[in-house]
Symmetry: C2
Subunit: 233 residues, 2 copies
């Protein structure tokens, strides 16, 4: 192969991608090492490294020291999903965003929630139920538990005007979290809030966010009928 000039890591990446798609390098096969590619492409090894590393993160390449780099056997493994900030999602569709708090009260959570949040039995919780609307139509019904021992400032906050989510994002520390997606038949309450018949299949997102070892909040969001979450691969 004649020495060519790929001076940017994007160009190198594009060329590597081309070879993978064209099956010049087939799934499962080893590809040349960084040194060799750098010479072939007429660029520094660091540039090749940048390109391959990026493809590795995307799941298209598998790299191991000493073993080398191979084309992944299951290239479609990871998708980057944007968790919708509802206000933005709604406004981007050209609709008017609305927020309505339905219930804000101190209350003991069910055991499942308490366990998932690894909370102490002495911890006190704020329950916030709310609906967010697009042009007045219900978009999401949200059920939230806030651990007041982790976020004592929330006790005196008035969530009737500001969405609990936006308040927490602004004022609560956050280190990590889990998120899960599923489907659920609408209960009487959910159906009522979303204005659909009970039993309708509802897309549900659950989240728990943490400040180190202490859970901040547990949220369950019930989306309107037919909602789909999309992304590119």
């Amino acid at each position: 192969m004649a020495k060519s000039d790929f001076k940017s890591w994007q160009a190198v990446q594009a060329e590597v991608l081309r070879r993978i798609h064209a099956r010049i390098w087939a799934p499962g096969e080893m590809i040349p090492n960084e040194q060799a590619l750098a010479e072939e492409f007429g660029c520094a090894r660091a540039t090749v490294n940048r390109a391959l590393q990026s493809l590795s993160e995307a799941g298209l390449l598998e790299r191991r020291r000493k073993a080398g780099t191979r084309v992944a056997l299951h290239p479609v493994r990871k998708a980057t999903l944007e968790i919708p900030v509802l206000r933005h999602e709604i406004e981007r569709q050209g609709a008017k965003y609305g927020y309505k708090a339905l219930r804000i009260a101190e209350e003991a959570p069910p055991d499942t929630v308490r366990e998932a949040m690894r909370a102490d039995v002495a911890d006190r919780f704020l329950q916030v139920k709310s609906v967010q609307t697009a042009d007045g139509a219900p978009f999401v019904f949200e059920e939230r538990w806030v651990n007041l021992s982790t976020v004592p400032e929330a006790t005196k906050e008035d969530f009737t005007t500001i969405s609990a989510n936006e308040w927490l994002v602004r004022y609560a520390r956050f280190t990590h979290g889990q998120i899960s997606f599923g489907a659920m038949n609408a209960s009487e309450e959910v159906a009522g809030q979303l204005d659909v018949p009970p039993g309708t299949a509802i897309f549900v997102i659950s989240r728990i966010t943490w400040d180190g070892p202490r859970a901040i909040t547990h949220v369950q969001q019930y989306f309107h009928e037919g909602y789909r979450m999309q992304t590119e691969l």
Copy 2:
């Protein structure tokens, strides 16, 4: 601030994260430029760059040339989701994986599918319906359309023994795709295959994969009752 030594980009990243979590740098605030941080941390600017770039990809920082770097206002925006390779997911749970083809036939797809795949009216399609099981219990019911004009080799393939998905991953070129997640009430057919009452809320994944401008396949996967897809934030 005294000069300290953070010699690896991970160490720099950890320190930056610490300052964000501790609100030394609050959401929306600018942080010092790379040059300044490199001096403070006693490392090269490239090292700082690597650390900040990684945080930027994760959505925690927003960077713009000339404008500088600021802490993102909505830090929880992106999640990397692993699209499950069902065979692996099932085997990881210690269950026995099974695949059964229900129907393999050339057939014209509904208009919605044809349009989504931007297919020509002359294109011919293979329809493959199948069930994948975990320890014999239905795990996923799958409805797939393969464009035979894009993948003519599929015509003579026998999908009764190998999953269409695994065959396509191995032998079809793939450049990009879309994926979407939603919920649906089980139809009679879906309910029958998944062994649940009709109307049960089912988690659904739809995918279209492309080879350049030509769609390869359209898949709709109906998961068993109660299935949840999870990831870390």
